[in-house]
Amino acid sequence: MNDIRKVIKSKRLYFDGGYGTVFQERGLAAGVAPEMWNLNAPDKVVALHKEYIAAGSNIITTNTFGVNAFKYDDCGKMIRKAVELAKKAAEGRKDVWIAFDMGPTGKMLKPFGDLGFEEAVSVFSANVKAAERCGVDLVIIETMNDCYETKAALLAVKENSSLPVFVTNAYGRDGKLMTGADPVAMISMLESMGADAIGMNCSFGPDAMLDLADDFINYSSVPVIVNPNAGLPRVENGKTVYDISPDEFSEYMARLAEKCVHILGGCCGTTPEYIEKTVQRTKGIPYRYPKKKNFTFVSSYTHAVSLEQRPVLIGERINPTGKPLLKEAVINGNTDYILNEAIRQTEKGVHILDVNVGVPCTNEAETLKNTIYAIQAVVDTPLQIDTSDIAALGGAMRMYNGKPLVNSVNGEDESMNAVFPLIKKYGGAVIALTMDKKGIPATAKERVRIAEKIIARAAEFGIEKKDIIADPLCLTVSADSGSAEVTLEAVKLLKKRGIKTSLGVSNISFGLPARDKINAVFFSLALDSGLDCAIMNPFSEKMTDVYYAYRALHGQDRTCSDYVAYASASVSVPSRRVEGTASVSGAITEVTLKEAVIKGLKDIAAARADEALSQKDPLEIIDGEIIPALNEVGEGFEKKKLYLPQLLMSAEAAVAAFEKIKKAMPAGGTDSKRCIILATVKGDIHDIGKNIVKVLLESHGFKVYDLGKDVAPEKVLNKVRETGCMIVGLSALMTTTVASMEDTIKLLRAECPAVTVIAGGAVMNDEYAAEIDADAYCADAMETVRFVQNFYES
């Protein structure tokens, strides 16, 4: 059998059409899985394969779409049977390839569902191994509607076989997967991981796929597959029919072939007739193998960031170097702090976020994975994985959802030999520091030479030039007055050679006062020299001013719309001074801290607290303004004069004020003795109630150890032991997860009998709480605050 990857270079190939929908036409009952026919009606399966081959399909897919370990006990047996049937149908045909069909597991991956990434990889891996043993010619991963699951499946194929692998995703009418990825995001990731052909299937008819096909044609360097449905299903005389006829279908497919789609076939509702008409209609259309595309992309699970259209901003704030609060957050596992840094940077318009959590004496590999997972749950900005720990890098790249940017590799063999295999396996673009064993060369030419050496070495690993972004390094001008000029010269030379560039812009001013002033001018010069990416501080207004102004002045912002949006936002957003807010509402500037807390004005409360600190002692502010405000709001809520949303806004305002005051307090703020551990129990992912309780407790000055949702009993116990905190609040929303709460309490009773446990959540009540041995039931957040106050006062 010829390798399909070679054959596709010179001729168009055809997939088969639908199986499940045809089987239903032929008597498969609704609700019965099509793969059951491999066992119950094998002749009908062979017959349909044969009909597709007769219609002109070169690739027939095994009837294994839904076969996976979540649905069947013996997948190996089902796969053997399915491959056997496909082989029987293709017997004697040298021009027909058998593709092992792998569909979604039917489970959603974390964080949106409960399936772990590695668990998904292992389920797919078992199938891939079985299929390869049976002698299939390739694997088709299809109808995937989630980027992460697609990655798990592709990784499984790559890790466990040497088979060619094709991937098609199911896009919706808005041109995105269910979980948000657009075609360019998928192309970036799949190509970078080594898929041999990519495209789309299912969802809609070929008409709807015409426009989307352009993205594939324009951006994919590997062959493109389009396997549409026969339109949308519709009921006619009590029968389900699809609204595009075989003739119409073949017309659309001809247009796709003219657009240069390389592999054509069908999905739901298509029959051998659809394929036959398509083959006939398209066989005369000239065929062209795709050209290599030279675009540099980095992607997340929703979109790709291109380095072609405009200079790209990489937010540098998630990095513990020189940032004591972030360092503390990494050490204490305070993910919320890091997530807020991530969200705030994206709000400032960065395109990529750098993530560095390297703190000595911590488990960087574990922390990096957890941090990336947490960031990707709330922000869809692509990430730059920044670590010098190769094990941590590999682990993070593996679980990253998309095509990451890696920071970094350098010209030393040791570095390249360690980093490039990871880029090849998991996909990615990489920042290449132009230094080697001898250090950083003094001249621009030498730095360019190292960049070229790195690119040549990458090519040996099968990594393309487009995925190497050279960083010619900037050294502080305070040590060497010529350093900026050398760096800028190197950027220009690299640009001339078609090599992408990046700089850690802020390094230029190290050791100097008012660094922003130097950074901004250097940034402007670097942009003018052709810089493609800047690792920078997005909170520096001087830097963002330069960025938007530069783009407006250089024709990169045609109608100046980005600049106008940026400029108007920077006027109305209250920055350091409260007066900024006054432009929104004149009266607001007059409110006191107490009033700001009562009214739930977060930004103003923070600003007022800041101002108050110059005149008053921290404790005076807390006791004189914040606590009275909270008491007033709390009482109002208890008397039902105020509503929960208002109570929460006040609590947030109080927390914002506390944050400011904490910084001025000698011991670092909250009295860690007045603490509580909170968790939503295992199996339960509802955390609103728990978060409400948390913010109210924090607003009253308690230290809260928040373990999050879906928390195992052992984790709660470990936190009790680690912190010595003697009060625990557990939340469960569903009757099905109250059992987990009971397990947690049992474990705590056995190991730490002195701990007090509060139970909360929608299904709880006094009797229920007593039944599972909780010490108390608190009906709402205020009741919890009162209970904890009493606990510490008595």
């Binding site: 949106f112 569902g113 948000g180 009921v235 929460l648 609103i688």
Partner: protein, 196 residues
């Protein structure tokens, strides 16, 4: 054997209106709930909704203590009562999509008040989406009141079969966790009897 009849459609976010009484109950507010913050939450929410439904029309077969909708016996007296007099029923699922889940997880980090309010709106809009789907399916027919797994004596574990029957994983991307929670979170399934 007749082939199953499937239905699929998308519902624009502008078609979904919040029921005032319901949102007041969810927000635990008695009077006017609208203010700058809640308006902002609703607008943000509407911008990420990607609502779609998927349905199948099935025959209803009764036996002594169970009902069969073509995907196995369902032991539920309440469902049997609800489907009384029906020969056919719609089984459907409707979702607001994963954009809502993403928004909610982000708000869980940035603002507990906005998280609470947005979640309440999202739940109310999921109900509205269910009402809207029902209206589309029942057009020109006379239907009973809808019933869902988890109501009365119909255990939640039937959710898996209901979702499989409407091919919700393929058409809507709805999946089920081991603890029987649906993803996207704001998804609803229902069974709607067709009266003659």
């Amino acid at each position: 054997m007749t082939a199953a009849q499937y239905f699929y459609g998308e519902i624009g976010a502008d078609k979904l209106t919040v029921n005032d009484a319901e949102i007041r109950a969810r927000l635990q507010v008695k009077g006017d709930y609208r203010e700058v913050m809640t308006d902002k939450c609703l607008i943000n929410l509407q911008s990420v909704i990607r609502c779609a439904y998927s349905a199948v029309k099935v025959p209803v077969v009764f036996s002594e203590s169970s009902v069969n909708l073509g995907f196995g016996e369902i032991m539920s007296r309440n469902l049997a009562e609800r489907l009384k007099g029906c020969d056919e029923a719609f089984v459907f699922a409707v979702t607001l999509g994963y954009g809502v889940d993403r928004l909610l997880s982000r708000l869980a980090v940035t603002s507990v008040s906005e998280h609470f309010v947005t979640d309440a709106f999202a739940s109310a809009l999921a109900e509205a989406a269910c009402d809207y789907t029902e209206k589309i399916l029942a057009e020109g027919l006379s239907c009973g009141r809808r019933f869902s797994p988890g109501y009365g004596d119909l255990p939640l574990f039937y959710q898996a079969r209901v979702l499989a029957a409407v091919r919700a994983d393929k058409t809507l991307g709805i999946t089920l966790s081991d603890t029987l929670l649906m993803s996207p979170k704001k998804s609803v399934t229902a069974i709607l009897g067709i009266l003659k």
